[in-house]
């Protein structure tokens, strides 16, 4: 049985209070150092972007092309992860700067601020790992839980996952459209889809025009070099960010929940669900920054609106709380978590349903490991 069922209501309350205390302390401590951190990071990102785009103009020289791609990739990753993702979570709204604010910030990505805040901040962070509520479980493309009904298309799970990662920014941009509702389940009409796609297309168009036409055209005869450089930088960002995000919620031991947990869910229950539904990975300071501190996915899900550079400092306390209440604190190397994610992607491509329906998903989570053995046998 999952720990979720063995904790007493008093323990849930106590966990809630302990985590609230950390939250309140961090919020009271917000100040100049947070401002300095985010401004410095933004400055570095802008410098990397200008350097990258500049170097690519001389992209006919291989070293310049490589350096340009490296700078632009780093710029896009910083812009999306440690800056955009965190700013749009409202982590810096308290600063009162209209340019570093969840309402106004826009990122170097085809997804709009509004769509992102809906699917990510609202759906994913509120209903984390709740099946049918958290669209991030598979993005409507993949099968990531054995309680997700198997469909023939999921045979292609691994291939679909590669496609999802390769074009990650575009899939994220259209995530709010719930394309599967139109293409597969036929619950959405073409007209509805068209209307919803309009603001997204406006942003996509501008991003595509900038990266694949305007900047290459500025290089004149060297158009192909800039074009290829921009494609590569976008690809690098897509592959990296999708893997970081997969590692946060798809390693095998991470739990998923049925919709019933949401009924009268207390603050303590919500916190525990966030901890059971997320996984960290380890690394140095640079790894943490480049992953937008989503290497501290557990801390991020507990405190999504606290500046992410604080997670590293909070994490020992969160870990101690987990130990105290017998909760798992899922972490490991980037490689270990990635392998675990891809194992799940492969396993879920095959039909296989374990446990009776209606018992709730968590009941099966702990045995998942031993059951996974049978799945792989089946696969073999």
């Amino acid at each position: 049985m999952s720990i979720y069922h063995t904790l007493t209501p008093e323990q849930f309350d106590a966990i809630g209070q302990e985590l609230d205390a950390i939250r309140n302390r961090e919020i009271a401590d917000l100040g100049e150092k947070d401002e300095k951190y985010i401004r410095t990071l933004i400055k570095r990102q802008r410098q990397l972007e200008v350097a990258g785009r500049g170097l690519l103009m001389a992209g006919f020289l291989p070293p310049a092309w490589l350096a340009g791609v490296a700078c632009l990739s780093a710029s896009k990753i910083l812009d999306n992860m440690e800056i955009g993702h965190n700013v749009m979570h409202g982590q810096y709204d308290w600063m009162g700067d209209k340019n570093i604010n969840s309402r106004n910030f826009d990122w170097d990505n085809t997804c709009t601020n509004t769509a992102w805040k809906h699917t990510h901040n609202f759906e994913h962070h509120t209903f984390t790992n709740v099946l049918d509520k958290d669209h991030d479980i598979g993005y409507g493309i993949l099968r990531m839980s054995d309680d997700q009904e198997w469909e023939p298309r999921f045979v292609l799970n691994p291939i679909l996952a590669v496609i999802l990662s390769t074009f990650f920014q575009h899939f994220v941009a259209v995530q709010s459209l719930k394309l599967e509702d139109y293409l597969i389940y036929k619950t959405k009409t073409k007209e509805e889809l068209k209307a919803e796609f309009k603001p997204t297309w406006k942003k996509m168009r501008k991003q595509l025009f900038k990266d694949y036409l305007l900047f290459p055209a500025l290089a004149g005869p060297f158009f192909p070099f800039v074009f290829a450089g921009n494609v590569t930088a976008n690809l690098a960002r897509n592959l990296w960010s999708s893997q970081v995000i997969f590692n946060g919620h798809f390693p095998e031991e991470v739990e998923q929940f049925p919709e019933s947990v949401l009924e009268d869910e207390s603050r303590g229950h919500w916190y525990v669900r966030q901890m059971l539904g997320s996984a960290n990975f380890e690394g140095g300071r640079l790894m943490h920054i480049m992953s937008g501190n989503l290497s501290f996915q557990i801390e991020h899900h507990l405190f999504p609106d606290i500046p992410a550079h604080r997670y590293a400092r909070i994490s020992p306390e969160v870990k101690a709380i987990c130990e105290k209440y017998g909760l798992p604190y899922n972490t490991g190397s980037f490689m270990k978590q990635s392998v675990s994610v891809w194992k799940r992607i492969f396993k879920m491509s095959l039909p296989g349903k374990r446990g009776g329906k209606g018992k709730g998903l968590m009941a099966k989570v702990i045995p998942l490991k031993s059951e996974s053995g049978s799945t792989s046998r089946q696969a073999a």
Partner: protein, 374 residues
């Protein structure tokens, strides 16, 4: 203007046009050109007025006078008008209104702001104690109806109290620089002689300009002033007998403003009195029936019991971070949609309708239950 100043100017205008062009916008999408310019130099912007702190002086024990060098986006001001100054204090931006005190004809293009650091004046205390020369601050364009008319009046009476001296100081300095030859009376109220900002300069102006009469009124028992005590009609009758003929500009603390306004009203001269309130009259905390009900922040799904203070403070106390600025109903940063309920305007006492409408949070107190779209 000669050729040497023309060329950089034309270059600058060309550069500005280029940076504001559509191509520049697309290339810098989605962040915008300014976000890249400010990385190179915090003063650079295609739209925002930013200014470097050039000099910090303390003319009196509790005041600070800041000289600012604005960037080229600064469009100037009319003496009497105010600007909104935004500074970052411990990571958080704060905006307050200040009236430039300098002459319109100052040749170096700099702006002079003077603030008095009150015990609970968060920003003024920061300006006095922590602001450093070389820092960059943000300014709004100048605004406000309180302004010296382009057609200079024939007779001018300037009345100020405390740090309300700044807009009328700008008027006086401007008129003197222009060689204005009408009569000017400068009537200023301060608690003590040593608290009077610009005391030396005013004395100097009065001796150099025959048309300027300086009247200083300090608190009871204080020496050094031509008058003493708070404003009263006797001060006017004895020292400015022709006040009815003057165009009067008034800026000071609310009780003093009220006393002056009353005299002008009684004389039927209200249209000759121009006034600027530099602090919001302290709102009475509402303890009557009005303070009942609750404040519902619909979008944040937050609900608090109405405690009678203004909606901005109530929102912040509830943990929300609505945009805000001057906190006195001037800058409209905190404007938001009220979807239901009535509010009272702190400045006028007027109670709104219960309809959906835009309100300024900082000057609105709820009358019963109010629902806001934040």
């Amino acid at each position: 203007m000669n050729a040497t100043t023309q060329t950089p100017r034309r270059f600058q205008q060309g550069l500005q046009r280029l940076l504001q062009s559509r191509v520049a916008g697309v290339l810098s999408y989605p962040h915008g050109v300014d976000r890249y310019l400010e990385v190179l130099n915090p003063l650079w912007s295609t739209t925002e007025v930013r200014a470097r702190v050039e000099k910090i002086e303390h003319l009196t024990a509790d005041s600070v006078t800041v000289t600012l060098q604005p960037n080229t986006n600064w469009q100037g001001f009319i003496p009497g008008q105010f600007v909104q100054l935004t500074v970052s204090i411990d990571g958080k931006r704060h905006t307050r209104c200040y009236s430039p005190a300098n002459s319109l004809h100052r040749t170096d293009g700099r702006i002079e702001l003077t603030a008095k650091a009150h015990a609970n004046g968060f920003v003024s205390r920061y300006l006095r104690e922590q602001l450093q020369e070389g820092e960059v601050v943000t300014l709004s364009p100048a605004g406000g109806e309180f302004a010296l008319p382009e057609q200079r009046p024939e007779r001018v009476l300037l009345i100020s109290g405390g740090s309300g001296i700044t807009p009328v100081m700008s008027m006086l300095r401007t008129l003197c620089d222009e060689g204005y030859d009408g009569e000017i009376t400068f009537l200023h109220y301060a608690n003590r002689a040593e608290d009077m900002i610009y005391a030396d300069e005013l004395a100097d102006i009065a001796t150099r300009h025959n048309n300027v009469t300086l009247l200083r009124a300090f608190g009871e028992g204080e020496s050094g002033g031509e008058l003493s005590g708070l404003f009263c009609s006797e001060h006017l009758c004895s020292s400015v007998p022709d006040f009815a003929q003057a165009t009067t500009f008034l800026c000071g603390p609310p009780p003093m403003m009220a006393a002056v306004e009353k005299v002008w009203e009684e004389e039927g001269l209200s249209d000759r009195l121009h006034k600027e309130q530099f602090t919001l009259a302290t709102p009475q905390l509402d303890t009557s029936d009005e303070a009942g009900g609750e404040v519902r922040f619909a979008r944040s799904e937050t609900l608090v019991a109405n405690n009678g203070s203004n909606l901005l403070e109530q929102a912040e106390a509830a943990g929300l971070t609505p945009e805000s600025g001057c906190r006195m109903g001037i800058c409209y940063s905190c404007t938001c949609k009220k979807t239901a309920g009535k509010v009272r305007d702190l400045r006028t006492g007027e109670i709104s309708s219960g309809d959906e409408e835009d309100i300024q949070l900082c000057v609105s107190v709820p009358v019963g239950t109010v629902t806001l779209d934040i």
